[in-house]
Amino acid sequence: MHRITTVAIVALAAAALSCPARAEVLIGVAGPMTGKLEWTGTQLKRGAEVAVADINTAGGVLGEPVRLITVDDFCDPKQAVAAAQKLVADGVVFVVGHYCSGASIPASEVYEAAGILQISPSSTNPMLTEQGRANVFRVCSRDDAQGFEAGNYLADHWSDKKIAILHDNTTYGKGLADETRKQLNKRGTTEAIFEAYAPGNDDYSAEIAALQAADIAVLYLGGYHTEAALMVRAARDRGYSVQLISGDDTATEAFGLIAGPAAEGTLFTFVPDPRRNAEAAKVVERFRAENFEPDSWTLHSYGAAQTWAQAVEKAGSLELQAVIASLRGNQFDTVLGRMDFDNKGDLTVQSWVWYVWKGGEYVPLE
C-alpha cells in the first residue's frame, strides 16, 4: 500500500512538473556564437530564430508554442559536448546544429543517448551520418560529394599546373581536403603540396610565401572562411596571383569583407543558393527587412527547424521514434525546396554548385 502511494505521488509530481514543459516545446540551436566564426554562427542562430517565430505565428507545433534556446559551442569538439549536455538538461526535444562538423559529431552521441533529434544545417562531413545514429539528420550535402566535385574540377582545369592542398586539421577541413585529394589523385593528377596549417592565426604570410616559393598556381583550401580570406589577402598583398579554390564555408559576406579586393576570382563549391528559391522569397524578405542578409547557411538553419516542425505535425507526436519515422517516410516542402531523407539521415539529392567571388559578392560560376 505504502509503495503504491509513493508511486502515485511520484507520478503526480512528474505530471505536475511536465505540465509547464508541455505548455511549450523547447528546441535548441548550437553553433559558434563567439570567436572567429561568430559571423556564420550568428547566421545559424538568426535562421533558427526567424523559423521559430514563423512556426509560432502559424500556431506552434501540435498546437503548442516553441521556444528556442541558443548555445555557443565555439566550434570546439569538447565545448560542443558541454553545449549539447546543457541542451539535454534544459529538456529540448530537437536541436538545430551544430555548425561545424567537428562539433556536430561528438554532440550527436549526447543527443542520441538523451533521445533528442539533431538536424544539422551545415555539417557536411560524411562521418556525421555514417555513425549509424538514427537521431541524426542534415539538410546540407556531404563532403564526399563536394570533394568529388572539387577533385574533378581541379583535374579538369589545372592538371597541368602545380596544385597545393592545405587543410586546418579540423574534421571539416581535413575531411574535405582528403576527399578532394582522393578524387584528384583518382583522376591521375597529383598535388604538389598537401599540408596542414594552424587555424586561428592573425597572419598567414609565411604559409603563402612558402607556396609562392614552390611556384604553386592553384591552392585548394580545406578550412573556414576567416583563414581563407586572410591567406588570399596576404597573397595579393605580395602580388602573388595564386588561384584560391575552397569549400562551402567561403559562401559568406564575411569572406568578402575580410579579404577585401583580394576576394575577387576566388572559386568555391556550395549548395544551390536557397535565396534564389521561389519558396524562400518571403522569408528572405523578412530577413532583409531586419537588415540581415540570409546568405551562407542562414536559410538552411531556417529549413532545418521548418523540416522538424513539419515532421512532428505529420507524425502527430513529439516522440523521437515517431518523428524519425516521419522524417524518413515523408517529403518536405521548405525554403530549401522539396526534399527527402535516406535512412542515414542524408538528403537523397546531393548537389554542389560552383560559385565565384565577383564585385564583393559571390555569384554562380557561368
Binding site: D202, T226, I258, G260, E290, G360
Partner: protein, 822 residues
C-alpha cells in the same frame, strides 16, 4: 359598610388595593421599556444599516481609487487584463453597495451625490482602461523600435568586425617584417605604409563604432526618459552623432560604405520622424499625463464620494446619538415611574397591612388563637374574645361553644369514670375470691377486701395501693402466713417472685392457718399482673375424703376381679364395656378342657385335698390361659370354658392358633404336673382332654338386671364340648374349622367324623400332634408312659458312657420283657 364585607371581602379589598398599585407600576415600566425598545429598534433598523452601508461604500470607493494607479502602471496585456478585471469586480461590488445603501433609505440628497460620484468613478475608470490599452500599444511600438535599434546596432557592429581582423593581420605582417632585420629597408617601409594604410582605413570604422554605441545608448535612454524635458535634451547629441556618422561614412571603404550608409539611415529613422523612439516615448508621456489626470480625477471623485459618505455617516451618527439620548430620557422617565410605582405600592402594602390587616384582623386572630391554645392546654376557664359579625367573631363564638361542650363532656366523663370505678370496686368486692392488680413494677394498684380477709387478715400488713408485691409477701412470710416459707424464707421469696413474674398454671398454696388457697396469676397487656386467690380448703378436704373412698373401692375391685375374666374386668373397669345386658355375634375360637375320669380318680380323696388339687390344677391352667390371651368364661367343676376373640381379638386365624398352642402348652404342663402329683400320692395321673372349635357365637352379658353373666352361647360351644368328650385323654381334638386356621403351623392327624347333636352333618375331627417347628426336636426325645413303664430318654444329650449305661439298662428291661417267667 366595611363591617358587612367580612374578612374575605376586606382581605380581597386589601389585596386588590396592593395589586392595583403593582399593576400601575408594571404598566409604567412596560410603557418605558416599549419606548426604549422603539428607539433602539429605530437605531438598529434604520440608522445603523444605513451608516454601515455608507461606511462600506466609502471603503470600497477608496479601494477602487487605490487600485486604479496599478492599472496605469501595468506593462503587459496580461497584467492589464488582470488588473482591469480586479477593478471591474471592485466596481461591481461598489455598485452593489450603492444599491444596498439606496435600500437603507438615507437622505436622498446625499445618495444622489454619492450616486453621481460612483457614476463618475465608473466613467473615469473606463476612460482609464482605454488609456491603459493605448499606453500598452505605445509601449509595444517602443519595444519594437528598440528591437530594431538593437538589430541595427548589431548589424553596424558586424560591419566593423572584418576591419578589425584585417588590421590585426597587417599589424602581424608589419611586426614580422620589422623583426626580420636582414630584409631590405624598403620592404620594411612598405610594410609600415601598408599598416598605416590599414589603420587609416580602420580608424573611421572605430569612430563610427563609438558613435553607433553613443547613438544606441542615447536611444535606449530615450526609451526610458523620465520627463519630456529630458527627451529634448537627448535629441541634440543624437543629431550630432548622426552628423558625425554621415561624415564618417564618406571616409569608409567603398565596399562597406553602402552598407554603412544603410545603417545610418536606419538610425536616422529611429531618431527622427513619426516612427522614432523619441516620438514613441513622447506619445507615452502624453498617455501617462492623461492617465495622471484621470487618476487625479479619480481621487477627486473618490474624495467627494468619501466626503458624501462621511456626511451620511455623520448624519447617521447624529441620529444614532439623538436616538440614544431620546432612549436615555425615556429610560430615565421609565425608571422614575417604575421606582415611584414600586415605592407607592410598597407604601400602600405597608399601610394596608399595618393599619388594617394587623389591627382589625391579626390582633383578633391572635386573641382567638391564644384562647384556643389555652383550651387545648386544658384551661377551660380561659377568657374568650368578644364575638362579632365577621369570621373571627364567628370563630370566637364557635370557640365558646366548643369550650362549653368541652366542659360538659369533661364533667360527664368524670361522672362516668367515678361510676365505672365504683362498679369495678363493687364487682371485685362481690366476688368470693381475693383479687389484686399489680402494675408493671409490681406495685399494688387495686385489691378487694376479700384479698385482705383471705390472705392478710392481720391489719399490720399494709395493702395500700403502691405497696410492692415483694414487700407484701415478705411481711406475710415473716408473720408465718406461709407454710412453705417456714425455715426457707429467702428461698421461698425468690421462688414466689419468680412465679409471680412468670405465672403459669394456677397453683395451690398452703397457708399457715391450715387453709389452702388456689392462686391464679396472669400477666396483662401493658405489663401488670392480675392475681386471683380462691379458698379451696373445703375442696381439699372433700378431695381427701374421696381419695380414702376411692382406695377402699380399689381394694374391693381387686377382690372382685378374681371372679371375673381379666379381660372382662379390664373392659368393665376401664369403661370400655358397659355393665348392661347386651350381646353381639363374633367368630370365636372356643376351647373346652376337662380331666378324664376325674370323679373316679378323686372319689376316694378327702374334700380338702380335692379342693387343693382342683385349685392347683385350675390355677395352673388359668395361668397358661391368661398367658395365651384366652378369656376364661367359667369353671364348671374340673372343666374350663375359654374363648379367644372377645373382648379383644387378634384376628380369627391368630385366635385359633393361640387356642391350639394354649391347649398344647396345657397338655405339656399336665405331664409335668403328673410328676408332682404322683409325689403327693395321686397314683393315677390326671389326664386332660381338650376340644377346640372355631365358629360364630353370641357373646355378651346375659342374665337379669340384678345378676349378669358375661358369657357365650351358641351351637359352637356345644360342638367344642362334644370334641372335648371325644378326645383321648392327654390329647387335643379340633374341628375342621379350627384345623383350617392352624394347619400351616400345627401338625395334625385326621381322625374320624363324629355326629353332634343339633348338627345335621358329621364333623371332621383332627388330633393335634405338635407345633411343626417343635416336631423334629420332639422326635429325638423318646417318651413313653405305660402302666409300670415310664421312659424318658434324650439320647442326643447323652455322653458315650451314659449311652452305654442306658443301653445296658434298656437291654435288661428288654431281656426281662421278652423272657417271661413261665
Amino acid at each position: 359598610m366595611l363591617k358587612r364585607l367580612g374578612i374575605r371581602g376586606r382581605l380581597l379589598l386589601a389585596f386588590f388595593g396592593i395589586s392595583t398599585f403593582a399593576v400601575l407600576a408594571t404598566t409604567a415600566a412596560l410603557y418605558a421599556f416599549l419606548e426604549v425598545g422603539e428607539v433602539v429598534d429605530r437605531i438598529t433598523k434604520e440608522r445603523v444599516p444605513s451608516a454601515l452601508a455608507s461606511l462600506q461604500l466609502s471603503r470600497q470607493a477608496e479601494r477602487v481609487a487605490a487600485t486604479a494607479p496599478a492599472a496605469l502602471a501595468s506593462t503587459s496585456k496580461a497584467q492589464h487584463y488582470e488588473i482591469s478585471t480586479a477593478i471591474a469586480a471592485e466596481m461591481t461590488r461598489l455598485e452593489e453597495l450603492l444599491a444596498a445603501l439606496k435600500g437603507a433609505k438615507p437622505s436622498t440628497a446625499v445618495v444622489a451625490e454619492i450616486e453621481a460620484a460612483v457614476l463618475g468613478l465608473r466613467r473615469n475608470l473606463n476612460a482609464l482602461d482605454d488609456l491603459v490599452a493605448a499606453r500598452l500599444t505605445v509601449v509595444a511600438r517602443k519595444e519594437e523600435l528598440l528591437r530594431r535599434l538593437s538589430a541595427t546596432t548589431n548589424a553596424s557592429q558586424r560591419l566593423v568586425a572584418p576591419g578589425m581582423l584585417v588590421m590585426n593581420s597587417k599589424l602581424q605582417q608589419w611586426r614580422a617584417v620589422t623583426a626580420d632585420t636582414p630584409l631590405a629597408s624598403d620592404r620594411g617601409a612598405e610594410a609600415t605604409a601598408d599598416l598605416v594604410q590599414s589603420i587609416a582605413a580602420y580608424i573611421p570604422q572605430q569612430k563610427a563604432q563609438q558613435e553607433i554605441s553613443a547613438v544606441n545608448d542615447a536611444l535606449v535612454n530615450t526609451a526610458d526618459a523620465p520627463t519630456p524635458g529630458d527627451l529634448a535634451l537627448i535629441l541634440f547629441p543624437l543629431r550630432r552623432s548622426l552628423a558625425v556618422l554621415d561624415t564618417i561614412s564618406n571616409q569608409i571603404d567603398d565596399r562597406l560604405r553602402t552598407r554603412f550608409q544603410q545603417r545610418v539611415n536606419e538610425f536616422k529613422a529611429l531618431i527622427d520622424g513619426g516612427n522614432s523612439i523619441p516620438k514613441a516615448r513622447q506619445d507615452e508621456f502624453a498617455v501617462l499625463a492623461q492617465g495622471e489626470e484621470l487618476l487625479a480625477q479619480n481621487n477627486q471623485l473618490s474624495r467627494s464620494l468619501t466626503a458624501a459618505v462621511d456626511r451620511l455617516v455623520a448624519a447617521a451618527d447624529r441620529e444614532i446619538t439623538a436616538s440614544g439620548l431620546e432612549a436615555a430620557v425615556v429610560q430615565r422617565y421609565g425608571t422614575g415611574v417604575v421606582l415611584g410605582s414600586a415605592f407607592l405600592s410598597l407604601l400602600s402594602s405597608i399601610l394596608v397591612v399595618w393599619l388594617y390587616v394587623d389591627r382589625s384582623l391579626l390582633a383578633r386572630l391572635g386573641g382567638v388563637s391564644q384562647s384556643m391554645l389555652a383550651i387545648a392546654g386544658g384551661n377551660l376557664r380561659a377568657p374568650l374574645p368578644v364575638a362579632g359579625h365577621d369570621e373571627i367573631g364567628r370563630m370566637a363564638e364557635a370557640l365558646r361553644l366548643f369550650r362549653d361542650t368541652a366542659v360538659e363532656i369533661e364533667e360527664k366523663n368524670l361522672r362516668e369514670v367515678a361510676e365505672a370505678r365504683q362498679r369495678l370496686i363493687d364487682a371485685i368486692e362481690s366476688i368470693s375470691e381475693g383479687f389484686a392488680l399489680y402494675d408493671g413494677e409490681d406495685r399494688l394498684i387495686l385489691s378487694n377486701s376479700r384479698y385482705r380477709e383471705l390472705l392478710y387478715s392481720d391489719l399490720a400488713i399494709e395493702l395500700t395501693p403502691g405497696t410492692t408485691f415483694e414487700h407484701i409477701i415478705r411481711r406475710s412470710a415473716e408473720r408465718g402466713y406461709i407454710k412453705d416459707a417456714e425455715g426457707r424464707f429467702e428461698e421461698w421469696v425468690a421462688e414466689r417472685l419468680s412465679r409471680h413474674r412468670n405465672p403459669g398454671e394456677p397453683w395451690v398454696q398452703r397457708r399457715g392457718d391450715g387453709r389452702w388457697v388456689l392462686i391464679s396469676e396472669r400477666r396483662i397487656t401493658g405489663g401488670g399482673t392480675v392475681a386471683v386467690y380462691s379458698d379451696i380448703t373445703e375442696l381439699k378436704q372433700r378431695e381427701e375424703n374421696l381419695a380414702e373412698k376411692s382406695a377402699a373401692l380399689e381394694a374391693l375391685s381387686s377382690k372382685l376381679a378374681k371372679y371375673l375374666a381379666p379381660q372382662v374386668y379390664n373392659s368393665i373397669f376401664t369403661g370400655r364395656q358397659d355393665v348392661r345386658i347386651a350381646s353381639q355375634r363374633k367368630k370365636l375360637t372356643i376351647c373346652f378342657t376337662d380331666i378324664a375320669g376325674f370323679t373316679e380318680t378323686t372319689d376316694k380323696m378327702e374334700s380338702e385335698d380335692l379342693t387343693q388339687l382342683l385349685n392347683h390344677y385350675l390355677t395352673e391352667m388359668s395361668k397358661i390361659a391368661s398367658d395365651h390371651g384366652a378369656t376364661i368364661d367359667k369353671y364348671v367343676g374340673d372343666a374350663i370354658l375359654m374363648f379367644f376373640g372377645d373382648p379383644e381379638t387378634r384376628g380369627v386365624k391368630e385366635d385359633a392358633l393361640a387356642g391350639v398352642q394354649m391347649a398344647l402348652a396345657m397338655q405339656k404342663r399336665m405331664s409335668e404336673l403328673a410328676e408332682a402329683w404322683r409325689d403327693i400320692g395321686i397314683e393315677t395321673p390326671l389326664r386332660c382332654r381338650i376340644g377346640i372349635h372355631t365358629d360364630y357365637c353370641t357373646v355378651g352379658n346375659f342374665g337379669s338386671e340384678d345378676r349378669m353373666d358375661y358369657t357365650i352361647i351358641g351351637g359352637a360351644v356345644n360342638l367344642a364340648s362334644r370334641l372335648e368328650q371325644e378326645a383321648q385323654p392327654g390329647t387335643v381334638l379340633i374341628s375342621y374349622e379350627t384345623f383350617a386356621q392352624v394347619k400351616d403351623t400345627i401338625d395334625c392327624d385326621e381322625l374320624g367324623r363324629i355326629h353332634v347333636k343339633g348338627i345335621a352333618y358329621p364333623v371332621a375331627t383332627y388330633r393335634v400332634i405338635d407345633v411343626k417347628a417343635n416336631l423334629v426336636a420332639a422326635r429325638r426325645a423318646v417318651r413313653t408312659e405305660l402302666p409300670h413303664l415310664r421312659l424318658e430318654a434324650e439320647p442326643e444329650l447323652m455322653s458315650a458312657d451314659e449311652r452305654d449305661q442306658a443301653a445296658t439298662a434298656l437291654r435288661d428291661v428288654l431281656d426281662r420283657l421278652c423272657h417271661k417267667p413261665g
